[in-house]
């Protein structure tokens, strides 16, 4: 059974298609793994064992009846709790939505179900996706499978950890400023933020509407490509969804070749501010690509220095408005002040009790940035910086095919280390934010372990909008070259969580 969970999604899908493994067996294997290790990892907020097994049995039955399916049919998947799921609680990691069961499926969830994939449950996240460590979840942090005392990244730490801990072969994430890519970086996994509008946002509990994008969280580049092929495409429910059809990302991985590809290294993001081991793995990866025919070019992107500042105005502003709907009237928590109160007082008491400190901080910040007299200086200026960042990308992509950066400045830090220092926490996103501001796609894949702490390091590639296939080409090629050097995937070096499995089994016995 245990080898089932070690398979990639592509391999597992092939075995299910060949009849070597049933979807029910595959699903049960992952549910067993969750039962064994999630007490220690806490990647999941909700596991729907019954629903998953029923869905798996249904796929097995339909396949036996001759129905044709895609390559990921029957494969289990974890879903970030930011996506609404019919019949499964959807909280976005917030107390204010505790127990809420939506009456509809988010479009990406509907699409994975239609592809015959099996949603296992909902993964942990920073409350409303605000954070880089998953410590801002109202339901307690997720632990990094490489070192349980460290953060799994955020906001999608649950999805990344579930994949890194072999609790799910792949997962859905959301990326507003790096919430897919930065967790991939610190957990030795693959994460892709597609072009803004490639994947529908319908049913994704909005953080910042003009920045949010749903994408794959996987262990291999091919798995990410296969999942993006399932979830990408036009959705009439999302006005910002791109109407044009997409080429197959999986084909791009299978044909991956970096010969002649021009790779730009963003000067501003390759600095002393980056941890030494992160930087050395980054440059080794570039050297490897160069040896295999890529051309490395230095790129100047001066506006990137202003990206974090613009991001921490735009995001709170949009979030302050998006989160206004949590008011105790139609769904979610209601807290009535002692002795009753007007609806205004009930709303204020509910939001005081239902939101965590980071959410309140950003709502107040965003309310300020939009308020009369400050709009032009803050929100208006931030939107202008957004234009400048786009111009930097345009100029860069006139010279190179893709850009490369370290995904984040450091490896996984200790849980609690930056909790009281929001500004320092915000700096984690320095390399991932520009892509969200400009809407361009980005991938993070493992580049190795940092020598000084033995923790995973990711490398990020960015491509022009709508050119997601370039990321899969370069990412797929680098993954193959690195694994050839390592002799095995990076995750094979992750600690065995079986001691926790044992502990959990003993607990279960009691």
């Amino acid at each position: 059974m245990s080898e089932i969970i070690r398979l990639t999604a592509a391999e597992l899908g092939a075995k299910i298609a060949a009849g070597d493994v049933s979807s029910v067996e595959a699903t049960r294997a992952h549910l067993d793994r969750i039962a064994a290790v999630d007490g220690a990892v806490h990647a999941f907020l909700h596991v729907d064992a019954e629903g998953a097994l029923a869905a798996a049995a249904d796929v097995d039955r339909r396949r036996a009846a001759g129905e044709a399916f895609g390559p990921l049919a029957g494969v289990p998947i974890a879903v970030k709790d930011v996506l609404v799921t019919e019949g499964m609680p959807s909280t976005a990691g917030s107390r204010i939505l505790e127990g809420w069961i939506p009456p509809y499926d988010a479009t990406p969830v509907r699409l994975v179900r239609e592809a015959g994939m099996i949603p296992l449950g909902k993964t942990n996240m920073d409350e409303f996706a605000m954070g880089s460590s998953t410590e801002h979840s109202a339901y307690g942090p997720t632990h990094n499978p490489w070192d349980l005392d460290r953060i799994p990244g955020g906001s999608g730490g649950g999805s990344a950890a579930s994949v890194a801990a072999f609790e799910a072969p792949l997962a859905l994430g959301s990326d507003t400023g790096g919430s897919i890519r930065q967790p991939a970086h610190v957990t030795g996994t693959v994460g892709v933020k597609p072009t803004y509008g490639a994947v529908s946002r319908y049913g994704s509990i909005a953080l910042a509407s003009s920045l949010d994008q749903i994408g794959p969280v996987t262990r291999t580049v091919l798995d990410a490509a296969l999942l993006q092929d399932v979830i990408a495409g036009h959705d009439p429910h999302d006005s910002t969804s791109i109407a044009e059809p997409w080429p197959s990302m999986a084909d791009a991985v299978r044909r991956a070749d970096v010969a002649g590809v021009r790779i730009g290294v963003v000067k501003q993001l390759d600095s002393d501010g980056v941890q030494a081991g992160v930087r050395s793995r980054f440059h080794e990866a570039l050297a490897l690509l160069e040896r295999n025919g890529a051309e490395i070019v230095e790129i100047d992107a001066p506006s990137f220095e202003y990206a974090i500042a613009a991001y921490y105005l735009i995001l709170p502003a949009e979030a302050s408005s998006n989160l206004a709907k949590f008011d105790s009237v139609r769904f979610g928590l209601r807290v009535t002040p002692e002795g009753g109160g007007t609806v205004e007082q009930v709303m204020a008491a509910t939001r005081e009790a239902g939101f965590g400190p980071e959410v309140k901080r950003r709502i107040i910040l965003g309310t300020y940035a939009l308020s009369a007299g400050y709009y032009d200086a803050y929100y208006g200026s931030a939107q202008k910086v957004r234009t400048l960042v786009q111009r930097d990308f345009d100029a860069a992509f006139a010279k190179v095919d893709v850009l490369a950066t370290p995904t984040a400045p450091t490896t996984a830090f200790k849980l609690g280390e930056k909790l009281d220092d929001p500004l320092s926490m915000y700096l984690n996103d320095v390399a991932t934010i520009p892509a969200n501001l400009a809407g361009v796609p980005g991938i993070s894949l493992p580049a190795g372990l940092a020598p000084e702490d033995g923790l995973p390091v990711g490398i990020q590639f960015l491509a022009p909008a709508r050119q997601d296939a370039r990321l899969y080409n370069v990412g797929g090629a680098l993954e193959r070259l690195l694994e050839a050097e390592w002799g095995a995937p990076l995750l094979s070096r992750a600690p065995d969580l079986s001691s926790h499995e044992m502990a959990a089994a003993e607990e279960g016995a009691l």
Binding site: A92, G203, S204, I205, D238, A324, R330, V343
Partner: protein
């Protein structure tokens, strides 16, 4: 509620110049809502739906839901903008207006702020006294309606004193176009009448475009009236109040008049006007203070990130322009000629805000004279007595049917008035009421002759006079016959028969 001191209207105008501004909300009658594919309760197909049944995740602002613009709402808005003489923006966009209120599902309203779809228009309005105004239109923008609150507990069903409220989001997301005038100067004593006549013109336009049911009593058409006064000779505009909840043409006129008198009394007394929202109370004919405008009205507008700019093609705009119906003023001139009305008769129809009803009644088969008579006569009288708009009492189709029954001799005017009462009471169509109440004229001559013979026999002196050629004496017999027939007889026919029987005997 304490009654405010009022200054005599003429006195107020001596001391102050009234300046008014009008904001009219028009609910579009599209099949679905502005940003969601839920059925639109402002479309007649979905009137009176049960609470919270015209709802998608978007209408409830459910987490994850997203708005998508209704194309027909855009077309209707452009048509309305063009009919108001506005320029259509090359590019317009939506913005979020952020404020908390339980009828607002997302706690922000999607509206248009700095880039409305239509701007800079002008509408011609003619008053009863023949004065013609060009009302300047600042802008017309698209937005979504809010849900409905029902206040429970407390004595009045009003928000004051209520224990709790119930929320129905059926109306949430109904497409609205808000038409905003620039300040209107120079109306003077006509300001109240102009306000009402302007809204009537907007209603005409919306109906002739077919983009709204435009019924004030249903809330399809809502008017907020801004009123300020400035002392004679002053440059600076006075502080204005915004009166809401004005739900009939009559109330618009009354509310503006009331505010002029109320503000004049305060100002003349050395007081100052508070910039605030005021609520109109139909029952007392007064306004009361609502929420004062304050720092709390910081709506934090910003471009709606979930929606994209609306950039109508010049071809679309020209196509919609070509499809515009006649402008109301031209249309009025044409109708007056077609109907052959005198100035006074036509103004009577216009001033009663019944032009649309009369037009539709004529279209439904009535003669113009009959249509005018019923609407400006009996219906206007009843409306006046009940303090409602005549248009809310009966449909043009029913009035045309009623006129047809009179024309055909099935009903006398007197019977027709009884039938109309039934129509207003909702008993059905005129024919159904005639059948149900047995109200038709007795057109069977033999029944009439029997009654006439009996009446003549009981009044031999009258018979004698008629035979002597004193025909006017027949009145007494006719009266007796009509009484005997309980009014269900055609008096002219009775008269004919009386003379015939008197001379025959």
């Amino acid at each position: 509620m304490a009654r405010a001191a009022l200054m005599d209207f003429d006195k107020a105008l001596e001391l102050f110049e009234p300046v008014i501004g009008l904001e009219v909300h028009v609910e579009l009658n599209t099949t679905t809502k502005m940003f969601s594919s839920a059925p639109n309760p402002a479309n007649s197909a979905f009137h009176d739906a049960a609470p919270n049944t015209l709802i998608t995740p978007v209408c409830l602002g459910l987490p994850g839901s997203l708005p998508v613009v209704n194309e027909q709402a855009i077309r209707s808005s452009i048509s309305l903008g063009l009919a108001l003489g506005c320029s259509i923006a090359e590019s317009s966009r939506f913005a979020r207006k952020n404020y908390f209120y339980p009828d607002l599902a997302k706690n922000y309203q999607i509206s248009q702020y700095d880039e409305p779809i239509a701007f800079d228009g002008e509408v011609e309005v003619e008053l009863e006294n023949g004065r013609i105004f060009q009302v300047p239109i600042e802008r017309a923008h698209m937005e979504e309606d809010a849900g409905k609150l029902t206040h429970i507990g407390g004595a009045t069903g009003r928000i004051q004193g209520a224990e709790y409220s119930l929320v129905d989001y059926n109306r949430a997301g109904v497409p609205l176009v808000e038409i905003v005038t620039r300040p209107i100067f120079g109306a003077e004593a006509d300001a109240p009448a102009l306000a009402s006549a302007y809204v009537s013109i907007i209603r005409d336009i919306a109906l002739s475009l077919g983009i709204s049911e435009a019924r004030m009593e249903r809330g399809n058409l809502r008017c907020d009236a801004n009123v300020s006064l400035r002392p004679r000779g002053a440059e600076k505009l006075g502080t204005r109040t915004e009166t809401k909840n004005v739900n009939s043409f009559r109330s618009i006129e009354r509310a503006v008049r009331y505010e002029i008198q109320r503000q004049a009394a305060i100002l003349a007394d050395g007081g100052s006007i508070t910039q605030e929202t005021r609520h109109w109370h139909e029952d007392t004919g007064t306004t009361s203070a609502g929420r004062p405008k304050s720092d709390a009205d910081d709506y934090r507008y910003f471009p709606e990130p979930d929606l994209l700019p609306v950039v109508p093609s010049p071809e679309l705009i020209e196509q919609l322009r070509a499809e515009l119906p006649e402008p109301p003023a031209a249309r009025r001139r044409r109708l007056k000629a077609e109907w052959g009305f005198t100035d006074i008769d036509f103004q009577g129809v216009v001033n009663s805000n019944l032009l649309v009803e009369v037009t539709e009644t004529v279209a439904a088969g009535a003669t113009p004279a009959a249509a005018r008579k019923w609407w400006t006569g009996e219906l206007a009288r009843i409306a006046n007595a009940q303090n409602v708009d005549a248009a809310s009492l009966a449909s043009p189709a029913h009035v045309a049917e009623l006129a047809g029954l009179v024309e055909a001799g099935t009903l006398t005017d007197r019977l027709a008035r009884q039938v109309l009462e039934g129509v207003i009471a909702g008993e059905g169509s005129p024919q159904q009421i005639v059948d149900a109440r047995g109200l038709a004229v007795v057109s069977d001559d033999s029944a009439l002759i029997a009654a006439i013979d009996q009446a003549l026999a009981s009044q031999p002196d009258v018979l004698e006079k008629i035979r002597d050629g004193k025909v006017q004496a027949a009145g007494a017999v006719i009266g007796a016959v009509m009484k005997a027939m309980q009014g269900k007889a055609d008096a002219a026919r009775v008269r004919e028969l009386v003379l015939e029987r008197a001379t025959a005997q």
